[in-house]
């Protein structure tokens, strides 16, 4: 590691807030994308399940 200790890694000679904010917000955006895709998948599967139940109900008549 090019920094002497973790404290220096955090501070980065005064640039710490900028660097860590950037990486943190990137992590948030990327995770949000993944979660959103999962959410859409869940929604879609729920809709399909409802459609499947309706079809089963219709088939019984």
């Amino acid at each position: 590691m090019v920094f002497a200790n973790l404290q220096q890694l955090w501070q980065m000679d005064g640039h710490g807030p900028y660097v860590w904010f950037s990486f943190a917000s990137s992590a948030i955006v990327l995770c949000a994308l993944v979660f959103e895709s999962r959410r859409r998948g869940r929604n879609a599967r729920a809709l399909a399940a409802a459609a499947a139940r309706r079809r089963q109900a219709e088939n019984q008549f």
């Binding site: 990486f23 990137s26 999962r38 998948g41 599967r45």
Partner: protein, 247 residues
């Protein structure tokens, strides 16, 4: 003809769903490894830049985000062309799914670019050629998303957005070139965005890692979005219902 069979197979949502399911871990795992590994490498194991200090480390997120945002638009435009020419439903789904991901990455590129600017040049926003081009790309994405939402008919929405995506893609080189030209007219001699020529190879390697990781990440999330869309559109078909009940 055997030549075109693979093409039409790709166009089948069911086949694509099954195929992409197998592909997912091959995208997700390398993507996460490269992104996280590249970031750790760039944050802690590369010496600080002589002129910019530690703030240059933002490059390891900023450049991949901007590059993949641009690449994503081109992918979207290609899908748009495929949809318009061959009426392939899957292409429309890919186009629709790529838009929000690309927009999010463009936003990230702008955000990290602005944050980078503050310790480097003293202001939160610098109208240099690259950032200005990314901003215009952001507007192009937003216009596409807005147009899609304005249509009630999904097929009309897909075709209208396909036209707009292609028009946008044709314009992007023109826009990029004109912004470069504009910036060269007004650029004060001293301010220069960190040029590729001044990047030391040791600084470049983690960038290659995060850049590849971001491309893979885009592919992964795109497939996730596309798969969700396929399920939703095909929810009344037997294969989807079997898939959902079977799980």
């Amino acid at each position: 003809m055997a030549n075109w069979q693979w093409f039409h197979k790709w166009g089948s949502p069911r086949w694509f769903y099954q195929f992409s399911g197998r592909l997912l871990p091959w995208l997700a795992i390398p993507a996460l490894l490269l992104l996280v590994g590249g970031c750790v490498w760039g944050l802690a194991f590369v010496p600080a830049d002589f002129k910019q200090g530690n703030s240059f480390r933002i490059i390891y997120i900023h450049v991949p985000a901007a590059a993949v945002a641009m690449g994503g638009y081109m992918l979207m435009a290609t899908a748009a062309a495929v949809h318009l020419i061959w009426r392939m439903k899957l292409a429309a789904i890919v186009m629709k799914s790529a838009a929000p991901i690309g927009a999010a990455l463009t936003f990230l590129a702008l955000l990290t670019g602005a944050v980078w600017g503050k310790p480097t040049w003293g202001t939160w926003w610098v109208w240099d050629a690259r950032i200005t081009s990314v901003l215009i790309l952001f507007f192009l994405y937003l216009g596409l998303i807005a147009l899609h939402q304005a249509f009630e008919n999904r097929d009309a929405a897909a075709r209208a957005c396909a036209v707009l995506a292609i028009v946008g893609a044709v314009n992007i080189p023109i826009i990029y070139w004109s912004v470069e030209w504009w910036y060269s007219l007004h650029q004060p001699a001293s301010i220069k965005f960190v040029g590729e020529s001044t990047i030391h190879p040791t600084m470049l390697r983690p960038l290659m890692a995060t850049l590849s990781g971001m491309y893979l990440f885009f592919g992964w999330v795109l497939l996730l979005f596309v798969r969700a869309e396929i399920i939703e559109r095909e929810k009344n078909t037997r294969w989807v219902q079997a898939l959902v009940s079977g799980k």
